[in-house]
């Protein structure tokens, strides 16, 4: 991902009200991490497992934060229990910022990712988590804001799947 796109993504999160981010780093979107870390308006929390990225972000949301969870799409599989048990069952809005590895629009796709990545959308559908694919920077700010609004309205996690230019 080009630095300018990373900067726009972080600014979009901030403009959408995101002020608390839990994360497990990965390869496609990781340039956003130092930008979030250096922004005093956003709290960045490192975790050991995507499952607790979800539960910690959920706790912060209940306390008044607008939280995002940044993870690789394999994290959706790891966190599916928490996404159901806390995100869906309790009804807590969370923006899932997901690097979509192994999908057709992943510009760095390979045999390492494809078999696993192709299940991401069916798994999100199975979990009942709404999602949107973002492949370029067109209307990025609007798409992030729409996603946060949708999560709050649904009282549920909402996933943005980043691929295309974000996987360069």
């Amino acid at each position: 991902m080009k630095d300018e796109l990373a900067r726009r993504l972080v600014q979009s999160l901030k403009d959408a009200g995101i002020n608390f981010v839990t994360y497990l780093p990965e390869t496609r979107l990781s340039q956003i991490l130092p930008l979030i870390r250096d922004d005093p308006a956003m709290e960045l929390i490192a975790v050991a497992n995507e499952s607790e990225a979800v539960t910690i972000a959920a706790g912060a949301t209940l306390a008044g934060k607008q939280a995002a969870v940044y993870m690789e799409n394999t994290g959706i599989y790891v966190a599916s229990y928490s996404l159901l048990a806390v995100g869906k069952q309790l009804g807590v809005p969370l923006l899932l910022v997901v690097a979509y590895l192994g999908g057709v629009p992943d510009l760095r796709n390979s045999f390492l990712y494809a078999t696993i990545g192709k299940h991401s959308v069916p798994v999100l559908d199975g979990l009942g988590i709404d999602h949107r694919l973002v492949e370029d920077g067109e209307k990025l700010e609007v798409k992030v804001k729409d996603a946060v609004r949708a999560a709050n309205a649904l009282r549920a996690p909402y996933a943005l799947l980043f691929a295309g230019e974000f996987s360069e």
Partner: protein, 200 residues
């Protein structure tokens, strides 16, 4: 040591603390002992410490208590490494460790009835105040005193298996109702709106 007696003692000390319980016997017992609006009774295992951590990070001036079980902590051991580094000073965790999956009704053993020592694991993960409590007198002295400490605490309370939670009424508050009661309580006591609740 009997969990219900520990919870009874703990409930008598509650004022404005926030309490998160995981699913299992202690959820039923705590809801029976405390009707406080600051209680969040989660419906599944393995999520209470994470949610309590998020609350503690977002509200660093409030004491947040997680009431959990051995089976539940074993399901989310990654929490220990994360907490060992985050060190939220306002988070206090009680793990009521009966050594069995009591909710399964066949009470098969958990790993803590074998060689696994959760307090030692927590210490090795970086949680400095992590210890095992084995007697009610010790719980009254050490466990209750932890409420007034300004540090991350992880107390593994070794309890006998008790079927008390099957004899008392289960909570009749559903998860959504509990969530909104909890959030409205926070709005009132923190004097700020919780954004996601929003307006219809």
């Amino acid at each position: 040591m009997i969990r219900y007696e520990c919870l009874q003692m703990l409930a008598s000390k509650m004022s404005n603390q926030l309490v998160v319980t995981s699913q299992s016997g202690q959820r039923i017992e705590w809801s029976h002992l405390s009707r406080h609006e600051g209680n969040l009774l989660l419906g599944m295992m393995g999520c209470a410490i994470g949610v309590a951590t998020g609350l503690a990070l977002a509200l660093p001036h409030r004491k947040v208590i997680a009431i959990d079980s051995d089976g539940s902590v074993l399901l989310s051991l990654f929490n220990l490494a994360t907490l060992g580094n985050l060190q939220p000073k306002n988070l206090l965790i009680y793990v009521f460790d009966n050594g069995v999956y009591s909710g399964s009704r066949i009470s098969y053993p958990t790993a803590t009835s074998g060689n696994t020592d959760l307090a030692a694991m927590a210490q090795a993960a970086g949680i400095k105040t992590a210890q095992t409590i084995r007697a009610f007198e010790e719980f009254k002295k050490v466990g209750i005193a932890a409420l007034d400490k300004d540090e991350l605490g992880f107390y593994v309370c070794k309890v006998d298996e008790s079927l008390m939670h099957r004899e008392i009424a289960r909570p009749n508050i559903d998860l959504a109702e509990n969530k909104y009661t909890f959030v409205r309580y926070l709005e009132r006591t923190e004097e700020k709106p919780i954004p996601f609740v929003g307006r219809g």
